[in-house]
């Protein structure tokens, strides 16, 4: 063994160069893809957002008027405000609905846990187009909910349940709930049940055990789940488009219509840049809180 490994020991100093070359070959394609098709296009978006748009044409002179319009015109401010509000409502709904499920899953018997986990992955990976239009058949005037309510004699005639805020919020909660449950489960599963037992042996009741032991330990999962659900929700396009009316338009619908309907790329670009800033701010806040939480933990 020793004899066989000797030549390699001797070759080590010269191996420096090949390592750098190998690294370049391995990282090159990925970096190229990220820079050419992600970073550069986003910089281009930023550049366009400072251009003028006159008589349906983009003019390459510097202006801040796109940002001024986006930040002052009530219509646009309202769309941003509504998207953020939907984000908050859906995030809280997913947390409230999903936490007990994640806890149940984490404490289920091993065999059943695997099966329940797999079952959770199915809606997670089911096409969002399918999951969204399915709600049309549940909430429509001839849909399952109206049919059931009528059959039970609770209503005399079908109620209009589609194309309003409630339909959009229900649809969004349905689509993003797995993104909350999965990170919560990942954290809760790692919490040793004996910690709960210890707290209760020391005289804490269930509520106190939850608040003082389980909740603090599951904070990383809560923050990850909330960040994911919030960012995904405010970026939704399909759900408000299919289940909402004109007044449920969200940021993505607005940006698309600027790009494809009015062809005002500078203004659409400015809206996209503002949206990007909001998203990045969320991530920065998350990082701060997360690190803060770690320091507190130590």
């Amino acid at each position: 063994m020793t004899a066989a490994s000797l030549p390699r020991e001797g070759a080590a100093p010269e191996a420096r160069e090949p390592v750098a070359a190998k690294l370049a070959v391995q990282l090159g394609p990925g970096l190229l893809w990220l820079v050419a098709f992600f970073a550069v296009p986003i910089v281009l978006l930023l550049v366009y957002s400072f251009y003028r748009f006159t008589d349906g044409v983009m003019i390459e002179t510097f202006t801040l008027e796109n940002y001024a319009r986006a930040l002052h015109d009530t219509i646009y401010v309202q769309v941003f405000g509504k998207s953020l509000r939907y984000g908050l409502v859906v995030t809280l709904a997913c947390l409230a609905i999903g936490y007990p499920v994640a806890y149940f899953l984490a404490r289920a018997a091993t065999r059943r846990r695997g099966l329940l986990f797999l079952a959770l992955i199915i809606p997670f990976w089911t096409s969002i187009v399918v999951r969204t239009y399915a709600w049309k058949m549940l909430l429509g005037t001839n849909g399952l909910v109206n049919y059931t309510l009528e059959a039970l004699g609770l209503i005399g005639a079908p109620i209009k349940m589609l194309y309003n805020e409630t339909a959009v919020l229900v649809g969004l909660t349905h689509v993003f709930l797995p993104f909350m449950i999965l990170p919560l489960y990942a954290v809760l599963e790692k919490i040793d049940p004996s910690l709960e037992e210890a707290a209760m042996d020391l005289g804490a009741d269930r509520a106190r055990t939850f608040l003082r032991v389980i909740l603090p330990l599951s904070l990383p999962g809560i923050s990850t789940g909330c960040l994911l659900v919030f960012i995904l929700t405010i970026g939704s396009y399909l759900t408000p488009d299919l289940l909402g009316g004109p007044s449920e338009m969200m940021i993505s619908n607005l940006i698309r219509s600027e790009y494809y309907v009015t062809f005002n790329w500078p203004f659409g670009g400015a809206l996209a840049v503002l949206f990007l800033i909001i998203t990045l701010a969320m991530i920065v806040v998350y990082n701060r809180l997360f690190k803060l939480e770690r320091i507190v933990g130590n």
Partner: protein, 258 residues
Amino acid sequence: MRGIVLKVWAALVYGFLFLPILIVILMSFGASKYSTFPVRGFSLKWYGRAFADEQIVSALQTSVTISVIAALLATTVGTLAAMAIVRNRFRGRELLHAAFLAPLIIPEIITGIALLSFATLLSLQGGIALVVIGHVLIGLPFVLTVVSTRLYGFDRSLEEAAMDLGANEATTFRRVTLPLIMPGILGGLLLAFTVSFDNFLITYLLAGSEVTTIPLQIYSMIRFEFTPKIHAVSTVIVFVSVSLILLSQLLTRERRAA
């Protein structure tokens, strides 16, 4: 008592998650041409009609073509990047890892219109190539994550043993490294395929008028031609995605059990 409340709650939530999908599947087997309740009769005719519909079949072909190319590219590029990131210590490594995951967090509308602006600047038409470029971006984070996990759990003494026994680097990679990380690579490939196959927004923004994938076809049918053919196509693609995902789970979990 608390156990029962939790159990009932979990059952209700699973019901909430599955009901819409089950309704679509149920409706696809209905006999009526109206998607109303209660569902009457049992028939496979909507499957027959869906697969006799030229637009649907062509959309299916386009989807498979795009997803296969995007998945192969994302897997190759992502596997190489994962090897570099997992096995080396260099400056900016963490940042680079985060950069590869970024397309997952940055809203798709931004990725989509940014790519569209870039393509227009280069006078590129929307179409299959552009859609593939976008799909590779969102497939990469999945490949990188799955392959990295595999590489972290990798016993490097196996490679050293192969080299000690006289194998050169290329042979060691081909005969030792590759077979050991293959489940991760295949798992990543399946995830990247599914991400591409189910993607709506980026495709919608980049496809142009000539290219229609299955999600775009379903979307246009929801808006313009609402027939139970939609339920049949949807059931098929749900089945495809779910099978691929379960297979990928199987591939990436198997080792941990061993």
